[in-house]
């Protein structure tokens, strides 16, 4: 019997000829990541270990992105702690405000993630890098401290669910809708302790930004990793970007999967996940009349250039509804710059949206758009747990940039196509 992608990558990093799901392995890691919230504990535990230096200053990456630029004094202290550690250890990949981005937008963009890698990060959305064929998973700060010290970690080789997408996509349906729909099918613990291998003709045609969005939310199904096979699109993305040589692994045709799912995408409309779980996905046409107070377009899920292009296409020449605060947050300095050059930022500002420097900010209820009691937001982020974006009695609806932008204009949850017709009429005039 053959092997899954996870089994192959983990076996190679454990120095074993083969590894099977269920086996515990001790693996070498390629990148160890942490941020301004998780690094302070990791640094504390690292110092507890009594080790002087990180295992490799090229491979320990720190990104202050959650509460940075510093949102308050306590955050400033945390960011300082990270900065001082990064300097003392000579970390090559520490990203200061002004060069910083949301970690999971930044690392792939900077070429720090390559196929076949094992990457551990003190952030649950580290699984984003599976889009590039890297086995990447989130861990807590203590695990990260040990990985920073030793360059190794233990793992239980996960079982794998194979999900294949076929059929033709409806207009405005992208990676975000596919993953929300999938979560609706499998539930928030449907892939607990397991890897999801995303496959099928629909995904072969999906952009790298769309794949990153899907892999990002594998954790929302409880998964340890969400992997895509390396193909021509991956190679094109890595061309001129990859910081290291890499090796692609392929799952065997006779690999052993715990479950196989086939999803016909033709039936999938743009999706909205209702409060308070990402699995509460519904077709936007079945959302009903949900009046909103805020729209957030950004985050490690949908803060990339393609996302901003989609949002700008809808907002251009229109106005954000008078009762809505629309906040747009490019995911990195590069995305910000590209969006400026393409005129996207102008479209946002002209429409009456606020545009921010890259930060996680409102995604986790940190700052830059915290919700009051009773307020409702449509957000392109990945979690809508109770209190995630602010007051415990506020509500977050997860959606794609297209649905978010359309909703910002309508003042309520809206199908992006409802503006299509209008646009055509405008054109006809």
């Amino acid at each position: 019997m053959g092997y899954t992608l996870s089994e192959k990558i983990l076996a190679a990093h454990a120095g074993l000829a083969a590894a099977r799901a269920g086996q515990f392995v001790d693996v070498a890691v390629d990148i160890v990541l942490s941020n301004d919230i998780t690094a302070p504990i990791a640094i504390r535990e690292f110092e507890e270990l009594g080790v002087e230096r990180v295992f490799d200053p090229e491979r320990v990456v720190m990104v202050p992105d959650h509460f940075a630029p510093n949102k308050d004094i306590a955050s400033a202290e945390q960011c300082r702690r990270v900065r001082e550690f990064a300097r003392a250890q000579g970390l090559r990949h520490y990203f200061e405000v002004g060069r910083m981005g949301i970690e999971h937008v930044l690392l792939p963009e900077q070429g720090l993630v390559v196929p076949g890698d094992v990457i551990v990060g003190a952030d649950s959305h580290t699984c984003t890098y599976g889009a590039l064929g890297a086995f990447a998973t989130g861990m807590g700060s203590t695990d990260i401290a040990v990985a920073m010290a030793t360059g190794r970690t233990w793992m239980r080789v996960p079982e794998t669910i194979h999900i294949s997408y076929h059929g033709s996509l409806q207009p405005y349906v992208g990676g975000k809708d596919l993953i929300l729909y999938t979560l609706g099918q499998i539930g928030v613990d449907g892939a607990r302790y397991q890897t999801i291998e995303f496959a099928g003709p629909v995904l072969e045609a999906l952009s790298m930004d769309g794949r990153l969005t899907m892999a990002n939310m594998a954790i929302e199904g409880g998964a340890k990793a969400g992997l895509f096979a390396v193909d021509e699109r991956t190679r094109a993305y890595l061309d001129g970007r990859a910081a290291r040589p890499w090796q692609a692994y392929q799952a065997d045709d006779d690999a052993v999967y715990v479950r196989r799912l086939e999803i016909d995408v033709a039936q999938i409309e743009p999706q909205v996940a209702f409060p308070h779980l990402p699995e509460n996905a519904r077709a936007v046409s079945e959302a009903g009349e949900i009046v909103i107070d805020q729209v957030v377009i950004g985050s490690c899920t949908n803060g990339r250039l393609e996302d901003l292009r989609v949002a700008a296409a809808i907002l251009r020449g229109r106005q954000v509804h008078a009762n809505v605060r629309c906040i747009v947050i490019p995911g990195s300095q590069q995305v910000y710059l590209d969006a400026a050059r393409e005129g996207l930022l102008e479209a946002f500002v002209t429409a009456g949206a606020a545009v921010s420097t890259p930060t996680c900010g409102p995604c986790l209820g940190g700052y830059m758009g915290v919700l009051a009691a009773g307020e409702r937001a449509v957000s392109t982020t990945n979690r809508n747990f109770r209190g995630r974006m602010g007051h415990p009695d506020s509500q977050v609806y997860l959606a794609s940039p297209a649905v978010a932008a359309a909703s910002a204009v309508a003042g309520k949850i809206a199908h992006p196509a409802s503006f299509d017709g209008q646009r055509d009429e405008e054109k006809a005039l």
């Binding site: 099977r20 952030d123 203590t142 233990w154 607990r192 986790l364 209820g365 979690r383 747990f385 209190g387």
Partner: protein, 177 residues
């Protein structure tokens, strides 16, 4: 190791934002986090929880973010252990790593009510409801994980391995569970 305490019972998918809301993550010690533990789903918890109390919950406890602040806040609140039908993967590792004992048992989770008293024998994996007398058994930990728990967490465990010249290997027992 024996744990004994009064039960605080919660449902399925208790996420890390419920255990410790992100707005409090600008600090990182167990003591500073504990006063906000469970705040958004149970505002009475932090004020009334007593040393040794236990949390019992449904499926997927600790889902969501990788924040180690979650098991730290629970530990800081004085909770001696968590019993749940199942745990989210990252939370499971984090709890073991910071020395917060957790046990998976759907039967025990179903057979216990808030306010009842529970006793847990960690080595034996035995969970007893001291009010009803019912007893359940949880899956034992793999040997290397019990080693981490005995050492008091991953850091002392790794430090010991490093000192013993065993290099970086933290996995003692390999095999299938």
């Amino acid at each position: 190791m024996r744990l004994r305490g009064r039960v605080w019972k919660y449902g399925d998918h208790v996420d890390t934002d419920a255990i410790i809301p992100a707005r409090y993550l600008n600090v990182s010690t167990a003591e500073a986090l504990a006063p906000h533990c469970m705040e958004d789903i149970d505002p009475t918890f932090a004020a009334q929880v007593k040393e040794g109390d236990m949390i019992v919950a449904g499926e997927n406890f600790g889902c969501g973010s990788s924040r180690e602040h979650a098991p730290l806040a629970i530990k800081g609140a004085g909770v001696s252990g968590v019993v749940a039908c199942s745990f989210a993967r990252i939370f499971y590792r984090n709890a073991i790593n910071v020395g917060l004992p957790i046990l998976e048992s759907a039967e025990a989770a179903a057979g216990v009510e808030s306010g009842q008293e529970l006793e847990v024998d960690l080595e034996a994996g035995e969970i007893q409801n001291l009010v009803t007398g019912e007893t359940w058994r949880a899956e034992p930990y793999p040997p290397f994980m019990m080693g981490i728990i005995r050492a008091g967490g991953l850091v002392p465990y790794t430090r010991r391995n490093l000192v013993a010249g065993q290099g970086t290997a933290v996995v003692e027992g390999r095999g299938n569970v």
